[in-house]
Amino acid sequence: MIMSNTQEIPGKTIVEFFGVVSGSTVRAKHVGRDIMAGLKNMVGGELTGYTELLSEARGEAMRRMSYQAESMGANAIVNVRFATSSVAQGAAELFAYGTAVTVE
């Protein structure tokens, strides 16, 4: 599955549109990580555990999006966007969406 956040796949031509595809996942931080992050919060700086957690979650959202596109018979997703929202205390929703297309 080719993905890009541009209007078209560079170097290729879109021959068919399938519509919007999306994938999302809600992740919570586990307690151990949260305690460590709480300590790190004192001195500031990067919260490595959260960085990994969010990038894993974003990867999962993108996988779900690409399964959806695959089941439609598309071979690429253009104009991919991301959205993050805090849905509950200590949990975040990672959402990825784009337009499934066939390119040549």
Partner: protein, 161 residues
């Protein structure tokens, strides 16, 4: 015991101020090093390519970082917030985080054999505190992403790229 509870807050502030400063300097040093290392990857926010660039393949690349302000800076910002205006103490960390996210994005592109990233976007999201009273860990996530491309013809040398 009475004295202790009064003494803890200033000690925490001082500790956070000193260690926050040390970490900041260390991070700035590593950023300079990494930025000079990732100079080979050109990242631009434009979407349309120059007509003489012929793209071979492309891929979505991204880099993220979650950061939080230290205790001292949050305290200083809450004081400054009373008067309003430019809260300068909070700016350096966000700037450092954006640079770090860009470096990670370029690193991902480089690792996969790409040397150009187009349509770069940088997003900022606030993560909710894990505790109901709002005192738990709250962080800010910076995400940089774009479309990495490889060209069949070598791209024209650009100044600073």
């Amino acid at each position: 015991m009475e004295f202790l509870s009064f003494a803890i807050a200033p000690i925490m502030l001082l500790g956070a101020w000193i260690s926050g400063g040390i970490l900041e300097r260390r991070h700035l040093k590593s950023l300079l090093l990494l930025e000079s290392g990732s100079r080979g990857v050109l990242a631009v926010t434009i979407e349309d390519l120059p007509p003489d660039w012929h793209v071979e393949s492309c891929e979505l690349v991204m880099g993220n970082v979650v950061i939080s302000q230290d205790y001292f800076k949050r305290f200083a910002a809450s004081i400054k917030g009373i008067f309003g205006g430019n809260i300068r103490v909070l700016e350096p960390l966000l700037e450092r985080a954006r640079r770090e996210a860009l470096i990670r994005m370029k690193g991902m592109a480089h690792a996969r054999g790409y040397d150009t990233i187009i349509n770069v976007r940088i997003e900022t999201a606030t993560l909710a505190s894990a505790r109901g009273d709002g005192k738990g860990t709250a962080g800010v996530e910076i995400l940089a992403f774009g479309t990495a491309i490889s060209l069949t013809n070598p791209r024209r040398a650009l100044p600073g790229a």
